[in-house]
Amino acid sequence: MSTTAENAKQLADLSATTLLRFATAGSVDDGKSTLVGRLLHDSKSVLTDQLEAVEAASLKRGQEAPDLALLTDGLRAEREQGITIDVAYRYFATPRRRFILADTPGHVQYTRNMVTGASTADLAVVLVDARNGVIEQTRRHAAVAALLRVPHVVLAVNKMDLVAYEEKVFATIAEEFTAYASELGVPEITAIPISALAGDNVVEPSAHMDWYGGPTVLEHLETVPVSHDLTSCHARLPVQYVIRPQTAELPDYRGYAGQIAAGTFRVGEPVTVLPSGRTSTIAGIDLLGESVDVAWTPQSVTLLLADDIDISRGDLIVPSGDAPPTTQDVEATVCHVADQPLTVGQRVLLKHTTRTVKAIVKGIESRLTLDDLSQHPNPGQLVANDIGRVTVRTAEPLALDSYAASRRTGSFLLIDPADGTTLAAGMAGESFATHKVLTTVEDEEGWDF
């Protein structure tokens, strides 16, 4: 009881803590649900009535022990089939930090689900079964994390209890994974030996692995830095909405509202508006009702400019002298997320920041095999879960950064203009640090068209 009261007091003081968004990736039997359940349970985020509901539902199914997967499988179909069919978002907190977990299912539709979860994640947890080591699926997860430029990757080597908590087993897997992920360009990798079932190194340090001196999973999640070096970021403000009160007190107020996508903006700074190229100076920054001198990502702000120039939703405000090139020929890596295929010549809509333009798929240069990162030229089309290199011609110029430089202004969606379906997630510019392009058209999976 005193722990709860203490916990309550700490939680009540939380308003200044930071938020970490992370995603989990793992295949069906490597214990992802157990890890998620353990994190939620041991951080006291599962409340009595939720646990009671799970116990009642488990009993009804004839299971004696409460099935913690029922805690996370929110849909009727998921509970009936005992599988997770979609990304779910979960929330928990410790006195040090708040967490948003994108819980991504590990079954066959893994790629689009993991891409969805990883797109907003600051960190990805890749689970490996210590008995199996780095397998194909592990390499796919690492590749998706690298492709989406998730800043931190945790390798959780699970089921250490089943390999007698052997340091050597962990070291071998950690070394192999780190080498592979570093080659892909993953900036930071932390390997942690755990047993989600027994609770080793998830929330509590393990009593079985004296040889491990690093943090537990939760400790790492609590302390990993979420902010990036703003000085090296190109400042970007996509204009979402023009605020014009047109009242007696404020007849001439014109504010350009948006969420700063990258970097910092300061009053007095010369800015350029894209794609028009018009220039002005920041006369004021309004941070939700408060006037400030400087604002940074991801704050939602309103910029006031010194000159009355034509700016509307979809424009991009950038510091003069630090503008991205504008282009109508977008080269990008896309992950196809829809059931209908993406084909060469297809007319689509492209949504980039706050701007949606007509576009046409000019070419599909290659399809990536995540297992070995080989690129197969001219696949003709991309189907659900495929990742490929494409060229898209847009009807209007776009001010596009490379995804490597900015996740926010380098990403886009391809949308079916007929029914509004989101077809593909796009990342502009180069994708991986290294490329292995196959020169022959040999495709062992045998495309039948």
Binding site: T4, A5, L11, L14, S15, T17, T18, L19, L47, T48, D49, A53, L71, T72, D73, G74, L75, A77, I85, D86, A88, Y89, R90, Y91, A93, R97, R98, V115, T116, T120, T223, P225, V226, S227, D229, Y241, I243, R244, P245, T247, A257, Q259, T264, R266, V267, L288, G289, V294, Q299, S300, V337, T354, R408, S411, L413, I415, D419, G420, T422, A425
Partner: protein, 311 residues
């Protein structure tokens, strides 16, 4: 002004936003996206704390201009009088336009039938969806949070509904980065949940930080209540107490505000925001588990209602 920006990479970085600032910024971004992309958006406003926070965020998002949305309240006919008074006060204060869809009118007109248990929450779906069609709303803001319920944990921020307002959890659009896809055909609409990533505690902490006015029933007060299905319900003309149910006066407050027939009060002596926050943080029950009867009807009660068009 300060000179060069130096960034300390770590939890204490001066450029790391607090979690409330991050959630606020994200919600404001969602409001502005809808304002930029839709023709006829509306905010579902019940006078409950989540919709109050939504309105507060909308006011901040468009300041110093007015909120470019109207409000819609689905009145079950069993709403708390304190909450209705609050609703009307807020609407007048900010010069907003309010539409009311009335469950009672539907019952009186014979278009809806009272349930034997007197619970009116599920009856809201028809007046809500008909109001959406009638006013041709194309974006409907709801205060739903993913932490409330396991079916809601699967909900998108932008959630496409067909012409019957139905939610199909298996045909949801993947939601990538902060690129929300609001495309919809005529007759369809999008439900938008700017508080998706907020928890109950976040909402309370934000209310405290921003000093937002709330209906008084959220704070401990003496009230005539009676016990039904393990919950303290407010006695009144709406249908309680019945035989064998006895009224007593207790010190209670509400964690959620909804229909009187299915929203329970909790024993509490929390009369201030700080006391409420401490109480919520220590509670071993979820908000819905503690105070909502309709969610206990079946394991998939929320999912089933959402499929039909509930928010």
């Amino acid at each position: 002004m300060t000179s060069a920006v130096t960034v300390n990479e770590g939890v204490d970085s001066p450029y790391a936003l607090s979690h409330l600032d991050a959630l606020e910024s994200e919600a404001v971004h969602i409001f502005r996206e809808v304002a930029g992309e839709f023709e006829r958006p509306v905010i579902l406003f019940s006078g409950g704390k989540d919709s109050i926070v939504m309105l507060h965020l909308a006011l901040k998002a468009f300041a110093p201009a007015a909120v470019p949305f109207t409000l819609l309240h689905v009145d079950t006919g069993h709403n708390f009088p304190e909450v209705l008074a609050y609703r009307d006060r807020v609407v007048a204060e900010h010069g907003l336009r309010l539409h009311v869809a009335s469950v009672q009118e539907y019952i009186d007109a014979g278009k809806l039938r009272e349930r034997p248990d007197g619970v009116r929450n599920p009856l809201q779906t028809v007046p809500l969806t008909e109001a959406i069609q009638q006013h041709r709303f194309d974006a409907v803001f709801g205060g739903g949070r993913r932490d409330e319920e396991k079916a809601r944990a699967k909900e998108r921020v932008f959630s496409l509904r067909d012409e019957f307002s139905q939610w199909d959890p298996r045909r949801q659009r993947p939601e990538l980065w902060q690129l929300y896809n609001g495309r919809h055909a005529p007759g369809e609409h999008v439900r938008v949940f700017p508080l998706s990533n907020w928890t109950e505690l976040d909402v309370w902490q934000y209310i405290a930080r921003e000093d937002i006015d709330l209906p008084q029933i959220y704070f401990a007060h003496e009230r005539e209540v009676f016990k039904r299905s393990g919950m303290w319900l407010t006695a009144g003309e709406w249908g309680g107490p019945k035989d064998q149910e006895t009224v007593e006066t207790r010190l209670v407050r509400y964690r959620t505000v909804g229909d009187m027939s299915c929203t329970g009060a909790v024993d509490s002596d929390a009369t201030t925001l700080d006391a409420v926050i401490t109480e919520i943080a220590a509670s071993r029950l979820t908000e819905r588990g503690a105070t909502r009867a309709d969610d206990k009807m079946s394991e998939a009660a929320m999912e089933d209602r959402k499929r039909e068009g509930y928010f």
